[in-house]
Amino acid sequence: MTEQLFRSALSPAAWALLACVPPAIFALYFLKLKRAPLEVPSTLLWSRAIEDLRVNSLWQRLRRSVLLLLQLLVVGLAMLALLRPGWQGQQLAGERVALVIDHSASMQATDGPAGVTRLAAAKARATELVEQLPSGASAMVVAFHDKARVVQELTDNRRRLREAIASIEPSARRTDVRGALELVEGLATTGQSKRRADTGPAIDAAGQPDPKAPPKPAATAGDAQRVTATAVLLSDGRFAPTEEFAAGGLEVVYLPMGRADTPNLAVTALETRAIEGTTRRTAYVEVANYTAKSVDAVVELRLDGALLDAQRLTVAADSAAGIAFPIGEPSPGTLEARLSKGTLAAAGDKLSVDDVAYAAINPLRRGKALLVTPGNVALEQALTTARAKLLAEVATLAADAADDASKVEGYDVVIYDRVAPKGAPRANAVYVGVLPPSAAWRERATKSPTVVAPRIIDWSRVDPLLASVELGNFDVVESLVVPPPAGGRTLVDAAEGPIVSIAPRDAFRDLVIGFAILVEQDGRVQRNTDWINRHSFPTFWLNVLEQFAARSSAESSAVRPGEVVELSPIAPSTTDLDVTLPSGAAERLARRAPDPFVLRSTDATGVYRIAEGGAADRRVAVNLFDPQESDVRQAAAGPGDGADEEAGTAAPLRLGDLLVAASEAGATVRVDAWKPLLVAALCLVVAEWWVYHRRIAA
């Protein structure tokens, strides 16, 4: 115990010498003072004056010896400081500390004491850690949800650190802990970042340095020296186990926030679907129950604030249940599925951001498709069936006008039948019997020549484009082999290679069918395949219209907070859009002519209203819909986790191969107390000086 408390800094001889100091002071103090003799008429009055002093002799003696006491105290403190007293403190070790604060949606759960959110608790804890930071250590503050952001560069300025922590706002976004830790690993453990932090301009916090990017190689050998840093992760651990994470020089300390028994109910899905063949719709709502007992939930469905319907459903513990609301033919507006207040109160719901889900019901608009063809009866017929007409309106363009951009603009899908345009349209594209103009496709395709009578051996049955399509029962005379470029995939495989492929292009998709339907040979139109005689042919084109044309005009409820939404203008000439955010704030989007509009500020859940030219009104719904975030129960340590198996201990985090146990505080380090002791001694010297002068001058 004593050995833990004290560490002597002196040798025994030095101690012996030091031990002589207090007796010396004592002796000096009581040495007879040499007084100047002075003859006076009588000592009568002086004696009486001193007699008065002697009346209170005890107090007077104390008063006389205040200086002695102060001197002894000063020496005592100095000796105590030399003993280097200290104790095992819970302070953060390490020269560099990164406070990595999770502000994803689940951190809004109000399960802290007095109903504070986990984020508030994390910020308070982080502020405490900043206060405990050993002098000379520097720290940085990183906030992360699905993107990591450096809020404060490495600094030893505690005020700035505190301000940075206080500036972290809650968000409704998902969690990507790996990105955050990689960012910290890259910044905190290299010598380079330290120098940048000290001298260079601060990284623009909004600039969002790419968390996936590896740390930049250091410029010189000196810079390449890596230092150990401690990342203090303040999170509730509500994210998927992180694979493939290399900690490098980063020591991760996990301070879990929240509780293991925090109840929450969430609306995890809201979608409207048209009833087949009609314009009537049904809203599907899924409610998840993240509590330990079954819940009778009342779901209220509102359209633009007006109650449409409310239904009760029973959701078993730890499961989800769905319910359908027939909503007829709703007028365009904001559909809102909300758990009733009574339900939330009964379940003790602690996270409010997922208690409501939104869906946008946009004005019914059929998709627009353009068929560019020198003439193809089979295709034209397949695209103008009764069901196809419900999905999209199909226009036809002559082959020689294929490169007239103005005529191609404004469609959801452009189908090039044996016509190769010079440039890709700003729309989804289907190429039949030709290759897309992009170099990526052409490079791959030129290596494999045209094949004759390819034998179809397999096709992607799960792809919605090939849903209900049977391809094994027709022949093809001649086809191009169309291997998809990077990011694409093969839809139909023949023995000779892929003959139907799909690949993304910007916000669009390119579907390439290697074989033509009809070919012109010797002035006559001939069939290149007998597919047109099969049921699968019109079904396939129906799927194409549904996926490419109808889907882009349908409401989209799959946007998650923080995701970037591309908005194609309805009119080609539109140059700006007015967006009303869920908070009521307005934002104006601008674009460069052919590009679509990009809406980035989708941080909040709710419905974003888009007004184009003040007239057309579209809506985009942004929802959390993330079980990882909605299940706010902190995972408790299991028997195999290797952590302390006390009740209430949070489960360790799995970061790649690293298992980080939850700790309640920072690593324990020895906290030395000699500095405050010396300061106290200095203060006593000042006090002694004051007492002395007061006594002489009074």
């Binding site: 008429p41 000592t43 009486r48």
Partner: protein, 291 residues
């Protein structure tokens, strides 16, 4: 007229207009200029009384006898001289101050003595050690008075009470006694003053303290040595101690004043650097010794 340090000419000029007065009427030895309780032979009528055998027949009021057929004696006030005893403390402690307390006391004694002599009173100077001047009377004795006072120097240590007792035993007759001392006696001044009270004289106590005693300008660690008995007091003079000392001095003089006041004596406190003239012409006048 003598013009010495003790009795400057300008002081003499001012003193000429003054005289000693006393609150009590004493019986003098010789006829003087002072009214006495004794009925005697002056021109001032005092009272009548019945004749008893042996009375001076010259004092009979014949007119009354004629009218009342009774012998009535007419009484007249007797005019007598006044005895002024100047009791000077010439102990070593009186040798301090600038000018010394003894010097100051000598000047005051000169002035008061001059007043007495000028009005025909009997003046005698005593020291506490027992030294005394011959009885002096009349203006012609002024030089002798001054000479005697001039010869006084701090002598050996004397006990205040003992000195006063000796004076009281020697001094016959009553009158005015002016004790000039610093009263700094470790045995206390009370016993000495009680002797004066018992003497039933008109007693004045002039307590002379030097500025150094009233307001010492010393500081630091000092060993104070008593000039009379060699007693030493070790003090560390600080502001607080000085304030305490001043309070002690104040209490000491106030105590003496109260003691005197209660016993019909008059106490005056004087600094040895006060002008003598002011003391005599104002302070003593205010207190009734000089009129």
């Amino acid at each position: 007229m003598p013009t010495t340090d003790l009795l400057p000419a300008d002081l003499v000029t001012r003193l000429e207009r003054l005289e000693l007065v006393t609150r009590k009427v004493f019986r003098g030895r010789m006829k003087g200029e002072r009214r006495s309780h004794r009925k005697g032979q002056s021109v001032e009528f005092a009272d009548f009384r019945n004749y008893v055998p042996g009375d001076d027949l010259r004092a009979l009021d014949w007119n009354l006898y004629a009218r009342l057929d009774r012998l009535i004696v007419k009484l007249f006030l007797e005019e007598e001289d006044l005895q002024l005893a100047l009791l000077v403390d010439a102990s070593p402690s009186m040798g301090f101050g600038e000018p010394t307390k003894l010097e100051f006391a000598k000047r005051v004694a000169s002035a008061l003595g001059f007043l007495g002599l000028a009005r025909g009173d009997r003046v005698r100077v005593h020291t506490l050690a027992g030294k005394q001047s011959p009885p002096l009377r009349g203006r012609v004795s002024v030089p002798r008075l001054v000479e005697f006072l001039g010869g006084l120097a701090p002598e050996e240590s004397t006990d205040l009470a003992e000195g006063v007792r000796r004076f009281c035993l020697n001094a016959r007759g009553k009158g005015v006694v002016v004790l000039m001392s610093d009263l700094l006696d470790k045995q206390g001044y009370e016993q000495a003053l009680r002797y004066l009270v018992a003497q039933r004289v008109d007693a004045y106590v002039l307590q002379v303290l030097s500025p150094e005693e009233l307001d010492p300008a010393v500081v630091g660690d000092l060993r104070l040595v008593d000039c009379e008995d060699g007693d030493a007091a070790e003090v560390t003079v600080s502001g607080a101690l000085l304030a305490r000392y001043k309070r002690t001095v104040g209490a000491f003089t106030a105590g003496a004043q109260e003691f005197c006041g209660k016993r019909g004596m008059t106490h005056l406190l004087a600094r040895s650097d006060d002008p003598v003239e002011d003391l005599v012409t104002r302070a003593f006048r205010k207190r009734g010794l000089v009129g």
